[in-house]
């Protein structure tokens, strides 16, 4: 499976959050650092 590499452009994505608001990674460009957390499930 491909993985992202350090110091390369992060793949952009667009998903709706659970309230229906569209969230794009590019929304944060030039504004905020992003901590992207891939959760393994709610326990």
């Amino acid at each position: 499976m491909p993985k992202v590499s350090l110091n390369t452009p992060a793949p952009n994505f667009a998903l709706d959050d659970f309230t229906g608001r569209r969230v794009r990674l590019s929304d944060y460009r030039g504004r905020k650092n992003v901590v992207l957390v891939f959760n393994r499930g709610f326990v």
Binding site: V4, A10, L15, K32
Partner: protein, 145 residues
């Protein structure tokens, strides 16, 4: 997740947004966010599109996805990647927070900034002129023989 919530204000202080992506549907997200009173962005990804883009590992024996964390700076560049090897293999908030602090440190100019600075110096054109001159000299020498 509770661990992240506890230190959320520290992430905000670092001008960072925490985005949690998971395979559950939006209802499961909504329920969990409400129960746990979570402040960060929650993105249901039932089709695993982003999970696949970022290569979150699937442990076939445990029939689940391993946790992963990625830090993306303001220019959209990946600055930190951690792929968990087990369910509990999650970096401490302190580790992530100190990395974020490093990204915004004013004494670390970005490589792009450095490059601009270098190209602005007067040394390069002079070097090129010297080279041209040397070449011309060689050609003249050749013509003389």
């Amino acid at each position: 997740m509770a661990q992240l919530r506890q230190d959320y204000h520290k992430f905000v202080e670092q001008n960072a947004e925490v985005i949690v992506v998971g395979p559950e549907g939006s209802q499961a997200f909504a329920d969990y966010w409400r129960t746990e009173n979570l402040p960060f962005v929650g993105l249901p990804d039932p089709s695993a599109s982003v999970l696949k883009q970022y290569g979150q590992e699937v442990n076939l024996f445990k029939l689940g996805r391993m946790p992963a964390q990625v830090i993306i700076d303001r220019s959209g560049t990946v600055r930190y990647v951690h792929y968990g090897k087990s369910m509990s293999d999650i970096p401490a908030n302190e580790e992530i927070l100190s990395l974020l602090a490093g990204l915004d440190a004013p004494d670390q100019p970005t490589p792009a900034h450095r490059r601009e600075h270098d190209s602005g110096q007067a040394g390069q054109p002079r070097n090129r002129a010297n080279t041209d001159h040397a070449l011309a000299g060689r050609i003249l020498d050749c013509a003389a023989c």
